[in-house]
Amino acid sequence: MPPPTLCIEDLSVNFTQRGARLAAVRQVSLEVAPGECVGVVGESGSGKTQVFMAAMGLIPGNAVAAGRVRFEGVDILGTTPAQLNRIRGSKLSMIFQDPMTSLTPHLKIGDQLAEVLVCHAGSSWSEARAAARRMLERVRVPDPARRVNQYPHELSGGLRQRVMIGMSLLCGPKLVIADEPTSALDVTVQAQIIELLQAMRTEFGMALVLISHDLGVVADLADRILVMYAGRIVESAAAGVLFERARHPYTAELLKCIPSVTGPRFERLPTLPGQPPQPGESLEGCAFAPRCPRAAARCRIERPLLDADAAAAHRVACHFPVQP
């Protein structure tokens, strides 16, 4: 097996806020294989974004990351800012949720794209502009020759996200991290962007991490899905398996909560009672126990660990997993 593109071991991210220590990520380990698409789902505050911000070496000033992050053999947490800047935007790139705020408002689309190639690939501006136009064509932006001369505000949200995707692919990345890439978009546009990401994966062969709170979006793209709860990975399984035979009670309950446009209609929506724990809360035992229908005394004392066999296809951190 080829070495993983991204390898995270025992990563913790702690924020300090008004003297209090808030744990956002707690001892997370994961790998992303070359060309693999890994979906990461979880509620807001579950730490799913922070894991991959740390993987990009983007750690906020009031946070401390511990553990190891290796990307293509480079130790991301230990490397210099200069080295990080060479990797980010070329071999490792990111697509953010809001395509408006992640593009510079006062630069033309073509120049923003070209700048990436000038900085990372040492292209001349004229080469880079031509490459930018070709990339817009590849991400199916209609009329690219006109679009390169436009500013971000002249583009719709869906087009801006296409530009962002194009930008992330310019230097032939090994890994693209997409954080809620379709959450700000309408459902019809969302479907187009999912289709585009799928096509780009086939065309460029990069690994893709897709972070989303929407299990439906992840279901369409991911080979494997990681479920996060309160800063930890609680379940990891192949996409098809997770939806049909979820083993962690949180995953199982979450799947029941998703209202559907087909199938039986409920008078009342199924719910998951209670609230996820706050980042500052100290957690004894399993973080999900207070909301879990299967919780027993043991769950409140002893924290369940993710199955030790890292190579197992289906891993779950639960004392009493749902039996398949």
Partner: protein, 318 residues
């Protein structure tokens, strides 16, 4: 509910709202009956929120009428409008931004009582606020806390408590669960349904999430580029949608666990300026014919209670 004989609570007639001469809402008409829940779906920029605000006269109407129990809200005097407002409430999308950060949540919930039930004594008002807090699933002891101390879902409960404390006859919910996690969404929707049943409130529920709308609406309105393109009873809309836009919308919903659930959608730009002539959807529509470029299709009844604005509607019915 027998809609045939009941008198509608709210009747929206040919409503038009303009921003700088451009129509954000155009020719919208529908009725809402007591105790009924009507879902309003459409993309961002389709005019859903603008319509909601115009109904409550938070925005002026350029044309048309909003008749609330016989009174036209768009043209009545401010003095006549004020007492009606207690029956017309709204819950907004962003739960934190819709609460005053410098008021305790107890004061926010009590404010409608201070305005519309000024004769209540302070202890009685506090008793009602505390009871309402418990009703929406928050502890009465939280009455003195500030919005920033709560999560998004809890703030939305506060927003709902504030809207429902006067037991309004109409509640407009503008994307009330869109910013919440799926595990919290169901709790809030069920709470709205419970409160609605208790108070007999009619509800206009705006959402881009078709699945949520399906689970709670009696009837559904589909909006595109400022116009209603389809109005149908819930089951008819999901079982046999007619307008090509409604069908594209339904096909685009990603489905967890069903690989390839999202159907391809014509790769054209959403939210492009609506053409002046003809059907606004024609450039994205795979079924457009010549007449679609010259004449805007009127909303016509295709089956009982099922209205569609499409020249080819009859070709799509079974």
């Amino acid at each position: 509910m027998n809609a045939a004989i009941a008198e509608p609570l709210l009747r929206v007639l040919d409503l038009r709202v303009e921003f700088g001469g451009h129509a954000a809402v155009c020719g919208v008409g529908f009725e809402l009956f007591a105790g009924e829940t009507v879902g309003l779906v459409g993309e961002s920029g389709s005019g859903k929120s603008t319509l909601a605000r115009a109904i409550l006269r938070l925005l002026p109407a350029a044309r048309g009428a909003v008749v609330w129990r016989g009174v036209d809200l768009t043209s009545c005097s401010a003095a006549a409008l004020r007492p009606l407002r207690r029956d017309l409430q709204i819950v907004f999308q962003d739960p934190l931004a819709s609460l005053n950060p410098r008021m305790t949540i107890g004061d926010s919930i009590a404010e409608p009582l201070r305005i519309y039930a000024a004769t209540l004594s302070a202890p009685e008002r506090n008793r009602r606020v505390a009871a309402m807090l418990e009703r929406v699933g928050l502890a009465a002891g939280m009455i003195g806390r500030y919005p920033h101390e709560f999560s998004g879902g809890q703030c939305q409960r506060v927003g709902i408590a504030r809207a429902m404390i006067l037991r309004p006859q109409l509640l407009i919910c503008d994307e009330p669960v869109s910013s919440l996690d799926v595990s919290i969404q169901g709790q809030i929707v069920n709470l709205l349904l419970d409160l609605q049943r208790d108070a007999g409130t009619a509800m206009l529920f705006i959402s881009h999430n078709l699945a949520v709308v399906r689970h709670l609406s009696h009837r559904i309105l589909v909006m595109y580029a400022g116009r209603l393109v389809e109005i149908a009873p819930r089951d008819a809309l999901f079982a046999a949608p007619i307008h090509p836009y409604t069908r594209a919308l339904l096909a685009a919903v990603p489905r967890a666990g069903k690989a390839g659930g999202a159907a391809p959608v014509p790769n054209t730009v959403a939210g492009a300026p609506a053409p002046h002539l003809g059907c606004a959807y024609r450039d994205r529509c795979p079924h457009a014919v010549a007449v679609c470029t010259t004449h805007a299709p009127p909303l016509e009844e295709i089956a009982a209670g099922h209205l569609v604005a499409c020249h080819r509607a009859r070709d799509f019915t079974v």
